[in-house]
Amino acid sequence: MAITLKIDNKEIKAKTGMSVLEAARQADIYIPTLCHHPQLNPSGSCRLCIVEIKGVRGYPTACTIPAEEGMVVQTNTQRLRSLRCQILELILSEHPYTCLVCDKREGCDEWMGTIRKVGITTSCQTCPKSGACELQNLVQYLGIEEIAFPINYRGYPVEQKDPFFDRDYNLCILCGRCVRVCNEVRYNGTLNFHYRGDRTVVGTAFGKSHLEVGCAFCGACVDVCPTGALAGKADKWEGCSEQTQHSICPYCAVGCSLDYHLRGNRIIKSVPAQGKSPNQGQVCVRGRFAVADLVNHPTRLKKPLVKRNKQWIETSWEEALDRIAEQFVRYRGDGFGLVVSPNNTVEDAYVLQKFGRVAMQSRHLAVSSPFAHSRWVDSLVEIEKIHPPHTVTLGDIDQASLILVWGGDLSVSHPIAALRVKQAVHRGAKLIVIDPRKTKLAELADMHLQPNPVDDSLLLSGLMKLIFENRSDPSLSGPQSPEWNDLTNKLKKVNLSLIEEKTGIPRNQMEELVDLLFHHQRILILVGSGLALQASASNGLFGLFNLSVVLKHAKMVPIVGESNLAGCLEMGCMSGLLPGLISVNEESARKKFEKSWGLSIQGERSYDFTELVQQIEGGKIKTLYVTGEIPPTDILKKCHYIVVQSVFRPEWADWADVLLPAAHPAEIDGTVVNFEKRLQRLRRIHRQTGLSKPDWWICSQIAQKMGFSGFSYKKSSDILNEIHSIVPRYSGLIPSKIKEKGLFLLDFKSNQKKKSCSIFHFDVAIRNHEKPKGYPYTLIIDVGISHFRNASLIEKVSGMERIGSEGKVEIHPKDAERLHVSTGECVQIKSNNGFQFEGPVIVTDRIPQKSLYLLLDKKSPHVLECFKGNIHFVKIKKVADDSDCR
């Protein structure tokens, strides 16, 4: 409803529910504020937004008082100005303010470089916020030149021990923005006000370090701080930003909108873009603190390098490309393997697969992602084909009344998705978490089931049986397809008590869960990496999909993988899969591609990523072209010729023959696809480092040198146009329409026939997962994604090594007691099928007894074995000499 009120003698229209401040801001009337922030609930604590309202006693704060019909408001009277000055002077008496009232500040811009002999936080020269400080602006606005009150310098030590940001609470004005964002928006609860009166200070419980209290280091507090009290370690002394540019975070499948701050030609930091989809102004530690460091990293590959007499020699693009073309021509055919990075853009992926298929006449293509194994990708493709799903976005989490998170630790892998779940729970949504581990989200859950690891299909069979048999809900009897009858029959044979025994979940808990599912209308199922990495991932995914079909109002979406895993698969960077998720076996579609590409395509699925690397050992793959990451493995030295094209030099560079510098996503134009299947635009906002070039450019140059036409792209939009014209699914895509919000791929899919409510074959058989003798522990493996192409953020970004638990084994306190190990000590794990790992332990009750949890870094040499999903049962022992333990 619209209301009319008068602010400063100006008639203003506002909506009911708006505060006086919002109404005034909307009408371009400035009211000074300090504690107000558009993302936060108003607190009215700084008192600077006081106004006079006719008929209201005193001076109410504009941020807390709702606008009403017929209100008459004055915002800038003499009395208000003088009160505001006094309020600000009081605030300043506790804030080192030399810089604010300095009589030389006029000349400050000109003489910025002058070093002054002043204490650490009393000078403008040593305040990291100088130039972007809200206090500075206010002092100028109110024209304060002198402060009448005695100065109270609080003398707190600057807190610098934590990673990512420093805290100088001498500069804090207690506006409470950081406390509110930490508690109301991020639900971390790390920060609060402690003590009272003039001793009030913002901090953690018991004054511990942020690391100790489990801070997520999301940096939201740093971004809302109006002063220099909270400042990022890396960007603190980079100076004020001169411009901001919008792009997409390169790290995970959420694809957060980021604003890059630049000074000159240097990216100084990345902050969440306010109010933009999908992340709505929030971002995690990787997006906030790990982007600029990686772009500016001194060890970036800057020039093409070729190996001559076992020495790396810098060379020109011309020479490097000539050499590669010369070699690649010799290796055309089935001996060639292409490994694409899930961080490559859609354009890169398209050109690379076209190169592999057409120029190299090979069918061995793979994306180097733990989730790009055939059992997972094929079932995703099948679901999308037979039953085109609707777009499921992060916004659906806000709408859901019941959220089921199945497998995986979203708060580690995709923190912004987890944040939305948290926010929904605090708004009243119910949360069910199914994971053997007590994840961060599980702490919030209304129900947390901890099934025995290994195979989630078991629990799904049990749940489906309960749904089908114990319910006479007429809505369930709906579609009568053969698959449906088949499933009903199969479920009849399922023995619930056996499932209870195998999963360790008692029947009453399963019934309780089914009850919850029946009582909610808007159900959202989020599938995490826990399920995706299982050997039975495909069956589990089908099972969950069936569940979402049976429950009618449910939606399901997997949230797994790296930034553009979905886009790389969409572009056919997988053996047997053509762009647009078309199978090579589809004769007519393949012919179309062959016609437009001008050469025949080698058909048939060959290997997924793990298999491809293993085929090198068998001698089938002789040449590799790698833009992704292959963990260091001895197998690689068997290759005759390896070209690596990446942002950093891989560890196994000794076995490579050419190293080509690729540009960072901040240095190229392109598009990526996130887990919502949202096609998002990456912008070139930074000049390319050294001689680095976009991957599509390098690849198409090689193809041209080899004499192939059809690779003469001038810019990335040429490639998108080609995709638009030849990939059927993308015929509805208009490249120019991809704005900041992006486009949803599922919205312009081609005219596929939609079978209503079809369900998938789901295997209810109980496979034998008995623990073999002598291997009493069940190992749960997850793969961390603190990773970008072949760079581990843990190695490249200072501070990341202190917050991740990659390469560590989680163990229950009781098991640890039995083994006499404590946190940090080294253990050795051996599985019944030859897997071996050594690393430090973390003793925690997050993990159930007799289970172990291992989060692997993507670079770990063990990763390849783990991708197969067949390591379950292990024995563990303490390593006496822990000197080798990382």
Partner: protein, 148 residues
């Protein structure tokens, strides 16, 4: 801890019951131990920093253990004139603590107060619930011997 869960449940497991919960815990333990605060937070499903914030806001809550006996030295006007400050000095010297602190053996906590309402007995020291008046530096040490 079980006993903390009982207290939390007594007040309806709600954040609004935080103050009486803290009071009860302090009554039992004499102060608010760190584990106690963490357990309360876990039971109420609220951040530890929230509980800590409340516990530090009110002077009635203590985060460090108190001695078995509390000594309140009156430094009100009458006691001040009659040498209350000297008594405080002596206590601080003899017990090796400063006002507000607890002795290392956990026997005494020494604090100052402004008038306990019996100025005729100045200078006064209150130990636990006993009032000791007309003291001097020697007598006060004698008095302490009664408290173990």
């Amino acid at each position: 801890m079980k006993w903390i869960r009982k207290i939390v449940e007594k007040y309806g497991k709600k954040e609004s019951g935080l103050i009486p919960i803290l009071q009860d815990v302090q009554k039992i333990k004499g102060y608010l131990p760190e584990e106690g605060i963490s357990d309360i937070a876990a039971e109420l499903k609220i951040p530890i920093a929230r509980v800590y914030s409340l516990a530090t806001f009110y002077k009635a809550f203590r985060l460090i253990p108190r001695g078995r006996h509390s000594i309140h030295v009156c430094l009100g006007t009458a006691c001040h004139v009659r040498g209350g400050a000297k008594i405080m000095d002596r206590l601080e010297q003899d017990l090796g603590v400063r006002s507000g602190e607890t002795t290392q053996d956990g026997r005494f906590t020494v604090e100052s107060v402004r008038c306990v309402g019996c100025c005729g007995l100045a200078p006064v020291v209150v130990i636990d619930d006993d009032f000791h008046g007309k003291l001097n530096q020697k007598k006060v040490i004698q008095v302490l011997k009664k408290y173990e």
